[in-house]
């Protein structure tokens, strides 16, 4: 690893170093700060509000999970944040600040506003500081190029000083990180299995030692055994290199295992934000509860599950009130009239956008939600509670 740019010592410095000279305290803590971020598709009458007023922060060296069903805006959000969104998608409001630590002095942090950055700035930041792994590795890799060329190109572009032999050696190291043989560099994407292709994507994303890796449903197309392998590998790689991660998936139970903090998105907005353990033990938003109840459990008695009735709203139609109200089993009059804000509840810094938790609470907490609340946090009860 000596010749490589991934330098573990350097990376550790970056996290635990003495206070930076210019950046604010939050800039050292958070690798990404997003506030009031909105994305639209199209204009005028046909406008679709895909992401609406999203505020979130990604702490250094942690995993932020983003959960939600198709059409909840989770992929649009990260495409917009990384400025990969194509027209007719437009960022229509808010800011996203990436706190980039400098290569020569890891303690120095420079904020880069991703929403206004020029192509040149983006080129400097992308891949070296923030990289992305897409859902379909087969369509992300060029089918007529050998795997090795993908690595070679990244390194040739961003690491001018490296010789051809160094680049090859670096590519082999990267493949070894994800448990692939060096001879895979000579293969074409179609010669690899789905799991191997996804590993290649992860190795590519780590090629320039980024501070933030965005994963857009990297394991959705894979079977459970391969998914488990990749998740285990990601945990090891993170422990070694200390990058932060945004992990997008519809599989909330996977996120509970993997993420430090989880945001649940519905119809383009964040409806709940909590630490992974709290979210699982005590979901506060009815949609989160519905998502958790959508997966048949592996333990306990077999019982009928209903999932979430209905389908997500049409985002082209401007709605009044809570967007989840038509599907929610606990809907009140207020839900149809007023949109609930994402408001903090409790002491632990979690927040939820639901009138059930408004203070002073006018409504008793629904039984289905409260039963889970009383369940102790931890391995014992939750999945077993029967209706």
């Amino acid at each position: 690893m000596s010749a490589s740019r991934i330098d573990v010592g350097n990376r550790l410095d970056r996290r635990g170093a003495s206070p930076s000279r210019e950046a604010t305290p939050s800039a050292r803590d958070f690798v990404l700060e997003v506030s009031d971020f909105s994305v639209h598709y199209g204009v005028d009458a046909n406008m679709v509000r895909a992401v609406h007023d999203v505020t979130l922060n990604v702490r250094r060296a942690t995993v932020l999970g983003v959960a939600g069903e198709s059409g909840s805006g989770k992929s649009t959000l990260v495409y917009a944040l990384t400025r990969l969104l194509r027209p007719p998608g437009v960022i229509s409001g808010g800011r996203a600040i990436l706190n980039v630590s400098s290569d020569d002095d890891p303690a120095r942090v420079t904020p880069v506003n991703l929403t206004t950055a020029s192509e040149r700035e983006l080129r400097r930041v992308r891949w070296s500081h923030v990289s992305i792994v897409l859902q379909s590795a087969l369509s992300a890799l060029n089918p007529v190029r050998r795997i090795g060329r993908e690595f070679d190109e990244v390194l040739r572009t961003h690491r001018r000083a490296m010789s051809r032999r160094e680049r090859r050696r670096r590519a082999e190291e990267l493949l070894a990180l994800v448990g692939l043989e060096p001879d895979r560099l000579n293969r074409f994407p179609h010669e690899l299995s789905g799991g191997q292709r996804q590993r290649v994507m992860i190795a590519l994303a780590l090629a320039l030692d980024p501070e933030l890796v965005v994963m857009d449903e990297p394991t959705t197309a894979l079977d459970v055994v391969t998914q488990r392998e990749i998740i285990t590998e990601l945990a090891e790689l993170r422990a070694r290199f200390g990058f932060a991660m945004i992990f997008i998936t519809h599989d909330l139970s996977l996120l509970v295992e993997l993420a430090d903090e989880i945001v649940v998105m519905y119809a383009g907005t964040i409806v709940e934000r909590a630490s992974a353990g709290e979210l699982y033990a005590a979901p506060r938003h009815p949609y989160t509860l519905g998502l958790l109840e959508s997966f048949p459990p592996l333990h306990g008695e077999r019982r009928e599950l209903t999932g979430i009735a209905g389908s997500p709203p049409d985002l082209a139609v401007e709605s009044v009130g809570c967007s989840f109200a038509p599907r929610c089993p606990f809907t009140m009059d207020r839900c149809r009239a007023e949109t609930p804000p994402l408001a903090p509840i409790g002491e632990t810094g979690r927040s939820v956008a639901c009138w059930l938790h408004a203070t002073p609470s006018p409504v008793p907490v629904p039984a289905a939600l409260s039963r889970r609340w009383t369940a102790p946090v931890g391995p014992t009860a939750p999945g077993v509670t029967s209706r």
Binding site: E191, D223, V225, L254, P296, L298
Partner: protein
């Protein structure tokens, strides 16, 4: 490896085997390789019951479904429909297709994109001899059966206008058009969104419970098999490695491969930090001699590498193809508690 009483079975398979001969890529003159996709699988699909087949990619479960649907011709083995043997030589007969229908994984790929839903539903009806005057009524009724209400909203839509969940319902409706007695569902929910998966599972369950269909449910997600199954079969490298009535094998997994599958399911309620099969090598490999799972198995012994194990009975209707269960008492009990066993191993090393 079958214990279900044959007479009540709608569709029975005995010793179903399929080998594919392939060339080594890039070497035209090299000897051909034989891929044993499915090896000696027997099962009975019984009216009103869901039989789940679980395995990872490449375990041969889809080839099995295609053999049962008579799309792939078995290399050897026998098929019995309603107790009478089916000649496996020729083409699938119309009568067979009317009895046994297959639902595929990807509804977007399995519907014709240039025809509306109506076409996909009416065509099988006409082929199977329905009168032109009644097809419209039949198509409506079958859409109602899969809970696509009102049917008029869907009949003249094109596949791209429907969501994945709706389209998978159409795909099931198409299979139900011809009033089959057996429904083969090959990964019907893996391409669908979380919130609609349960809807499809409940639909399949309803078809088995209320309409007495015999259903084969193929999946890699062992938790969904547990939700549905009246009999569970685990396949690895073309072989049945474990099977049980109900979901006994999920609650008390005996075969190391089943344990690997279960440990792979994201399960927040399990003890955090315990990775059940960290010891098992996970990449898919198949041994040519001996037990096919031996190269990945944390319990593999010298015997496993030379001799392929037969199935051992380890409980009521619960079979495991593993040498660990050759001695029924003792070992199997130990294996049934994978966590404790693993810890025991860790202290030994």
């Amino acid at each position: 490896m079958t214990d279900v009483d044959a007479p009540t079975a709608r569709l029975s398979a005995r010793g179903l085997t399929r080998h594919f001969t392939t060339r080594v890529p890039g070497r035209i003159f090299a000897a051909k390789r034989v891929t044993r996709a499915v090896e000696d699988v027997s099962l009975d699909l019984v009216a009103g019951r869901v039989t789940a087949v679980v395995g990872e990619s490449g375990s041969g479960k889809s080839v099995l479904a295609r053999m049962l649907a008579r799309i792939v011709t078995p290399t050897s083995g026998e098929l019995y429909l309603e107790g009478s043997a089916i000649a496996l030589g020729g083409r699938r007969t119309l009568n067979y297709a009317a009895q046994v229908q297959l639902v595929l994984q990807d509804p977007f790929a399995s519907m014709n994109p240039v025809h509306p839903v109506r076409h996909s539903l009416e065509r099988p009806l006409l082929i199977h001899g329905a009168r032109k005057s009644e097809v419209d009524e039949l198509a409506r009724s079958v859409l109602a059966r899969v809970a696509l209400d009102p049917p008029d909203r869907f009949l003249d839509r094109y596949p791209h206008e429907l969501s994945g969940g709706q389209l998978q319902r159409v795909s099931i409706a198409r299979a139900l058009c011809v009033q089959p007695s057996v429904l083969l569902a090959d990964e019907p929910i893996s391409m669908l969104d979380v919130s609609v998966r349960l809807g499809i599972l409940n639909l399949l369950k309803g078809l088995a419970d209320h309409e007495r269909l015999a259903i084969l449910y193929i999946t890699h997600d062992i938790a969904s098999a547990r939700y549905l199954a009246d009999e569970t079969i685990v396949m690895y490298a073309g072989q049945v490695v474990e099977r049980s009535r109900g979901t006994a094998l999920i609650d008390r997994p005996a075969h190391p491969y089943t344990q690997l599958l279960i440990s792979s399911v994201p399960d927040p309620s399990s003890r955090p930090g315990v990775d059940a099969s960290a010891s098992a090598s996970r990449s898919f490999v198949r041994a040519e001699v001996g037990c096919a799972f031996a190269p990945r198995c944390p319990h593999a012994t010298a015997r496993c590498r030379v001799e392929c194990p037969p199935a051992f009975a380890i409980g009521d209707g619960h079979l495991s193809r593993c040498w660990l269960h050759a001695d029924q008492e003792g070992v199997s009990v130990d294996l049934a508690t994978p966590d404790r066993q693993r810890e025991g191993e860790a202290t030994k090393t």
